[in-house]
């Protein structure tokens, strides 16, 4: 799994929480127990009453990169269901090339 990475194109994350529930369903993690991914919300005031609202899907220490799924050729549960399709999974080198330069994005590798 060390070759893999997760690209978080979080400019487009809408904070819908589908990734969190997808993770909990896949790994049968009950509510109130930490899952592998968690949405962080950041609201900052800009001039003229405009706000910047940023949601960021943060991989927690419990994320396994969905190893059992990936071994079967499937995408991680969060990537598969991301409503904004702002999560991409693949080989780290290939994803590094696909990482957008003009907007905020993060490449998680292990």
């Amino acid at each position: 799994m060390n070759d893999y990475a997760l690209l978080v194109d979080y400019e487009y994350c809408t904070g819908c929480h589908a990734c969190e529930v997808a993770c909990k369903q896949e790994h049968r993690i009950p509510a109130k127990k930490p899952g592998g991914i968690k949405i962080i919300e950041l609201i900052e005031e800009l001039p003229g009453r405009k706000l910047d609202i940023t949601y960021f899907p943060l991989l927690t220490r419990f994320c396994l990169f969905c190893a059992p799924r990936v071994k079967r050729g499937l995408l991680p549960a969060c990537v598969k269901h991301c409503m904004a399709q702002c999560l991409k999974f693949g080989r780290a080198e290939e994803l590094a090339k696909k990482t957008p330069r003009k907007r905020r994005a993060v490449l998680w590798a292990r």
């Binding site: 589908a18 405009k50 269901h81």
Partner: protein
Amino acid sequence: MSEKGIEVIRTTTWSAGPGCHGGCGVLAYVKDGRLVKIEGDPEHPWNQGRLCSRCLAITQYLYHPDRLRHPLKRVGKRGEGKWQRISWHEAFDLIEKKMKGIREVYGAESMIFLQGTGRDIGGWISMLAYAYGSPNWVFGLSGLACYTPRLMVMWITQGDHCVADASQWLPQRYDDPDYQIPRCIMVWGQSLPASCPDGFFGHWIVDLMKRGSELVVIDPRCTWLASRAKIWLQIRPGTDAALALCFLNIIINEGLYDEEFVKKWTNAPFLVRVDDSKKKLLRESDLRGNGGQDNFVVWDMTTNQPRIWRSALAEYASPDVNPTCEGTYKITLANGEVARCKTVWTALKESVSEYSPEKVAEITWARPEKIVEAARFYAKSRPASLHWGLPIDTIPSTTPTAQAIAHLWCLTGNLDVPGGNVIARYPLDVVTYPFHSGAGMLSLPPEVHEKRIGTWKYGPLKDFRAWAHPDTVLEQIFTEDPYPIKGMWIQTANPIACTGLEPRKWDEALKKLDFVAVIDLFMTPTAMLADVVLPAATFLEKNSLKAWWVPLQAINKVLTVRECKTDIEINFELAKRFNPEFPWKSIEEMYDHILKPSGMTYKELGKKGWVLPPKGHPTAPYRRYEKGLLRPDKKPGFLTPSGKIELYSSWLEHWKLEPLPYYEEPPFSPISTPDLYKEYPLIMTTGRRSSAYFHSEHRMIPWLREIEPDPIIEIHPETAEQLGIKDGDLVWVENWLGKCRRKARVTPVVHPEIVMVTHGWWLPEKPGPEPSLFGVWEVNVNQLIPMGHTGKSGYGCPLKSILCKVYKTGGE
């Protein structure tokens, strides 16, 4: 999950489960008859593999320990929470006996059939009501303020409904050669990613943003979309019409409209009499005694004479008419009188010219230069798409507001063009949900339809769709005038916690009735007041079909949960018992009948899963008005009374409502009610969407409740500081009607003078029996919002704009 013995079944979401208006293709993973997992179907054109939190949590929903699993009969007092388990057989017998008793003594109209939002139930509950013989099928939200008001306005203006075009009608979606990405999307009052709007997948907007669409967002709250918009207009709730009229002013007076389209396809050139105290469209019958009352008059520039437009034939009565859109004309009438007339266009132009950016900035609180920028950006972008939300319905001035907004896509020629607002018809003309006025699955004789409550007060209620008027229904339960109401059939709806404004009145009304049946999936505050409660099924437990808007889809049964039955099974069984001449022997036979226009049987659809109407079919885009695909006579034009887009509405004229759009101040506001405003100095708005919940549902689902654990009020940091309120404090939200308790969420997403109080709350973890009713009286915000304040059309209600005060609990 890699266990063996797992079967994967493909189906479609709609209704209970995720709760929403559905459309997503899913793969259900089933082992030994039990759902182990759900995933999005990557091959489905609607969601393309994605799935929301509510659907992903469905294992917790299906097998929740509190889920209703068998029919219950009340054995204590209403609300006491004493129930006896009964069999389906006993339940159906009991219901049949009670309801036939009411029908015999008081007449079938004394039974109300109440539903919640438009899901896979509307067709079936109305079928049951009509089989029983009652015309009183109703949606419980005051002023039918959910889509019906906007649908009505689209129907009278352009003869068909339309939606923002996100390529949903095309097989290759965004890559389809027939599609164009909208350059501008105007999102009017909706947080799309947090909701599943009617017939639209919210994240399609995000797909389009990635492909280059830029947004104009109109919203009192700074939503995520607003924060990503090119232009965000933060308006005062309920002032939307003023803004739309100002947009029209700018678009018309700066010449940014599509002149050719307006002249050819709208009734802009029609003449309107303006010398009377009552304005009226000039008819052929005004010009000559034997002239048609439905034919209209234009001024022909070639002959300098009035010329006749024959509505039924959708053509001028004489060749080579070159009508003018502008001007004032004197026309000699059949009785010798000379009438002063203006063109519709001139009348519209004069009326919108009153709404200057400065004046409208004062009304709406948006900045004048931003208003101008937004109007120009929308009008100059081709194609431009407009997506509007429920806030256009949930204000009393809904009808003129929706009309002003609909004029935007009509004037800019963005109707039924790729990437604009595409005409939305039922795929292949298969109707599973009775949007249209008229019969649906069964019909009633006209003398019975005349008893439909509220039709005698409101023209649109009578002529558009078949709803009874909820506010008048509630009133009539108490007044019994013109006839008594004795029973209510409440199916997957929760008026005490969600659709009912002034819920104490609903509580009192239900207790006054002789018989109440509730069909639901969980014991709700409303179900607690019933005599019989029946356990309903989720979408995974049923065979059904979905046809709004696209694709035409099968809902394939995946599994069974205990004794739960589907809405259609329950309605079908009782419809047969109430109507000995009920035409179908089995549900599948009925589905085959519904599917006839598609040329498929239900089995065939089930195998295909989903079907898009082929190119060239009247239910497939684009530019159908040019090709004669909208009208049964195959003439170019629209399905309106005149065959034109009616900027000046003959239907509104017929109903004695103002035929052109105008602005109306909300009934409770700093301007309308300054005395109340002194005591209640904050504007309260409600109904913002949550991705974890569908209205009053899902509060008992652990994976979802942890996303949004508390009933909250959003309050701006400056306002909170003035009131000594800190984030997380418990506060009372109160006005002259009532109060509710909320946790303060101090956030700059709301305006300092506006608070947002989330809707649909009850607390399933609290005791069910009265007086608690699952804590509904502590948290339900509808206690601050009145019934009976619909607009002049009978539609709309003051959900978005009411007044309140907020203070910390403990200090009272």
